[in-house]
């Protein structure tokens, strides 16, 4: 049997991804995580010296802390199995990627294991975030210099 014919048969028989169901679950879980973030931001605005704009920094740190606890107690992977992108797109998913790698590689020691592998999943997000920020900011700065756009 040729590869194309087999690919056709495989596609026919393999279960389809339940896209609608996954999308709804992602919406609910992702929305809920952001809502929790909003409440945490409210807490920092009310009880500390933060404005609506500056509260996002401590909020993000708090969310990552919660993510660490959920990851450590083995709950985050269950949330992810249910929520899919709803659990991996929020910053808690970034935290989960870092913390799970750190925990996993503990057996190789803190320097080579934890240190060397902590960013093995999340590293690419930092790389592409930084690099795209660099390109975007560079283009915009040059355009402003030539008077094409303004700040």
């Amino acid at each position: 049997m040729e590869q194309e014919k087999y690919a056709h048969l495989e596609k026919e028989l393999s279960p389809k991804t339940p896209i609608l169901k996954n999308v709804i679950k992602a919406f609910l879980v992702g929305g809920l995580i952001c809502l929790i973030g909003q409440f945490i931001a409210l807490f920092y605005i009310t009880y500390f010296d933060f404005t609506e704009r500056t509260a996002s920094n401590p909020t993000v740190a708090t969310m990552i802390f919660i993510s660490m606890l959920l990851t450590g107690f083995g709950l985050y992977k269950k949330i992810s199995q249910f929520g899919g992108a709803g659990a991996s797109v929020p910053i808690t998913g970034f935290g989960n990627a870092v913390v799970s790698s750190a925990i996993e590689h503990k057996s190789e020691g803190y320097v080579l294991g934890v240190g060397g592998n902590m960013f093995k999943l999340a590293g690419s997000v930092i790389l592409f975030g930084v690099f795209s920020a660099f390109i975007v900011a560079l283009i915009k700065t040059i355009l402003v210099k030539f008077g094409v756009v303004s700040w």
Partner: protein
Amino acid sequence: MISIYITSFIVGGLICVIGQLLMDVAKLTPAHTLCSLVVAGSILDGFGLYEPLIDFAGAGATIPITSFGNALTHGALAEAEKHGLIGVVTGMFEVTSSGISAAIIFGLIGALLFTSKGNV
């Protein structure tokens, strides 16, 4: 004041829906999906569109990973405004140091406290 909770839920949820579609329809791996979203956040800020979204949705825009790309670009642009081209490099982590520092600190603490279980 109530409305920010509704918009944060809906906007946050919708950004995650985009992520889910990238994984299920475009068949990207989770890593590719997150990288795409970060780049998207960064480009949106280049057009000055992400900050209005934060005003509109609060944590619904700051909690998804797109906000990381936005914050990096925003820091770079703010420095560039003051110091020109060199600011593009120096300003990058001005706004968004908390996500990475928290991840590093809690990553290490997590490794100290927990071992992986891996059961259903």
